[in-house]
Amino acid sequence: MSNWIARGLRRGILTTSYPRRDDAMPPTYRGRASVTSDDDAASLERGAAACLSAAIRVDGTAILAERCFQCGECARAAPSAFATTNDHELATVGDADVDAARERLRKRAAAFGGSVHLRHVDCGSDASTEQELQAIFNPFYDVNRLGIFMTATPRHADILVASGVVTHAMIEPLRRAFEAMPEPKIVVALGSAACSGTIYEEGAVAGAVDRFLPVEVKIPGTPPAPLTIIHGLWVALGRATARRGVRDL
């Protein structure tokens, strides 16, 4: 019979203290893509053409984090204009005033007490978001220490985590899951496809989650790394400030 106690003790503590203490992804990680210089219009055009999900707006140059699926093609096509950083804190909220948003979320999360329960709904993801969401419970991240737990039924859930672009067949199940949750509740769109629908075509899928449910927090990433997810949940609980939410056109 395997001696699991010895096995566990031998490894010591693997868990990160994030978000209470800082932690970062490795320097090679392709996290947030950013515009380094907007002088050369040709470079900007080239980079924008390299983006399959149309995340780059050339006029008033910006990269819509919610549409970015972290391929790095813009940086490869136009290295002078675009670059990727290993910044993993990507979560956005809908309000322009991020501090007011944080306050509102904090007040509501206070009703949850010390712990919050997540209910996950897969609306049409590519399966990687699920495995990264599962990863936040592994010994390296262990979100249970932060009071975040999974629940099997929406009746007990506080936060609805919707991953993947919403397909036609999943519209009603998603709505039913939202209906089945008691107030107060928060909807979090997990993954760039859930936030914006990235590369998926309009008719083939039904759209991003915020077309069907009131999404409070969007966590971009394809898939979002565990640290990104933890940061996003922390924003949803009003304990961290999101970066500004940029509305999709």
Partner: protein
């Protein structure tokens, strides 16, 4: 490939080949102008042969002679309106919005009650629905209702620049992006006659093997979780995490997306993998093997897996099973063996079990993990020199061609088809998960409800690549 036939004749040819011992692989359709072309693909002694013909109303159905064709016919019926063998009273696997689960019930008898399991199930799982008819805790009839996650990806490829197209392939299954990107790239390279340098092929192979390791660890960790072995599950997930960290260190993405392109790899992935391996591979391997040792030494978990979800060799070959699911029942059809794929010293018999139960499939995965680590080390040691990418010239991108490409993904044999006419015209994907799902239903009778998740995780299939 033989053209200008009717679909009936193509079906007939395919059936003859199957009777001769070929393995039925795939049936898919294509709209060419007004006509719908049906394409039958078989594997004869390691070589792919396909027969296409124009589908007419009343095209004969193969599903009685070749059970492996059933699900392909159903999807074609739904998506392309081809009615194979006339109207079918078989419950459709495709979850159309109008489809009512009531019509799927097939077991008569007052005592039978029906459970609708899905699409939103408990835990962090992908969406799929199962209509389970039971008299208590057993499985009398089970009907899958899938394609909740259909995202229209095959169509998305059409007209996309070749430079960016592999990124779409990576979206088909986000957990096995290297296998999908490699399969897609190989297919296009075969169609356009593009040669890929050895260094790139080695890099691709290493990524696919590392992918195999983290997906198999995922399946075993979930089995441990089902068996309430919390520490075992946690340590196995931790081992998987280490693989992802190594991939992130080497390629900048935890699942290694964005590395593979047509003609090779985007950067010198091979050297970054070598550098990461020097620092991290020993730890990754040690932790993975230690977790495996622990899991297989836990009798309570082994007891749950023995005899669960048994599949006979006959059933697996009839339904065309692939990958670890097929190996568990003694059927080996590894794409690495047939496609001359840089694997030295890969033996066909190595990861082969005969029991056909969940434990056999778990043991297959265990062996494959061990062997994958060895393959990775062998390939890193071989260190082929040279360029890591063949540049695509404008001329090479003109032409008209079609080709197939195969890769052994963690779930099994993955096949891509590309029809190219100065641009991507039709991309069709036959994922290993789609090939293996039909085996799930025959594996259930004789088990009870609580065995469902054990069997599901012992199959280790990905819904995203099934529904596309």
């Amino acid at each position: 490939m033989i053209a200008n036939l009717r679909a009936d004749e193509a079906a007939e040819l395919a059936t003859l080949k199957v009777r001769d011992g070929a393995r039925f692989l795939w049936l898919f359709c294509e709209r060419v102008g007004d006509a719908t072309i049906a394409r039958y693909v078989v594997d004869r002694q390691g070589r792919l042969e396909s027969f296409e013909g124009v589908a007419t109303p009343g095209t004969r159905s193969l599903s009685k002679d070749v059970p492996a064709s059933r699900w392909y016919e159903q999807e074609a019926r739904y998506r392309y309106g081809v009615d194979f063998g006339g109207p079918s009273d078989e419950p459709s696997i495709v979850k159309a919005p109008e489809a009512d689960a009531e019509r799927m019930r097939r077991a008569l008898g007052d005592e039978v009650s029906t459970v609708l399991y899905g699409p939103i199930r408990s835990g962090i799982v992908e969406s799929a629905c199962w209509v389970i008819e039971t008299a208590g805790e057993d499985f009398i009839c089970v009907h899958p209702s899938m394609f909740f996650k259909h995202r229209g990806l095959e169509k998305r490829f059409e007209g996309v620049r070749l430079e960016l197209a592999p990124l779409i392939a990576e979206h088909v299954s986000g957990v096995t992006p290297s296998s999908h990107a490699t399969a897609f790239c190989r297919t296009v390279e075969a169609a356009l006659g593009i040669d890929v340098p050895k260094r790139a092929r080695a890099a691709r192979a290493i990524l696919v093997e590392l992918e195999r390791i983290h997906q198999h660890l995922d399946s075993l960790a979930k089995l441990a979780d089902d068996g309430s072995l919390s520490v075992g599950s946690a340590l196995t997930f931790a081992a998987k995490e280490r693989v992802h960290r190594m991939l992130c260190d080497a390629t900048g993405h935890r699942f290694a997306r964005g590395s593979i392109c047509i003609g090779g790899v985007r950067e010198d992935v091979f050297s970054s993998l070598s550098q990461s391996a020097v620092r991290m591979l020993d730890d990754v391997e040690r932790e993975a093997l230690s977790a495996l040792e622990g899991l297989f030494g836990t009798q309570s978990l082994m007891d749950r897996l023995v005899g669960t979800g048994r599949l006979s060799q006959r059933t697996v070959s009839d339904y065309g099973g692939v990958g670890p699911v097929a190996r568990g029942s003694g059927v080996v059809n590894d794409a690495r063996l047939t496609d001359g794929w840089l694997y030295t010293r890969l033996e066909a018999e190595e990861a082969r079990e005969t029991e056909g139960d969940a434990l056999a499939r778990a043991r297959v995965r265990e062996t494959e993990i061990r062997r994958s680590f060895q393959h990775v080390r062998n390939m890193l040691d071989a260190a082929p020199a040279g360029p890591y990418r063949t540049k695509l010239s404008e001329g090479s991108l003109r032409g008209e061609a079609a080709a197939f490409g195969r890769v052994e993904s963690p779930q099994g044999e993955l096949i891509y088809f590309v029809r190219y006419h100065n641009g991507l015209h039709r991309v069709a994907i036959r994922s290993a998960s789609f090939a293996n799902w039909p085996l799930f239903v025959p594996s259930l009778p004789g088990n009870i409800f609580t065995d469902f998740s054990f069997i599901e995780h012992s199959f280790g299939l990905v819904q995203a690549e099934t529904d596309r």
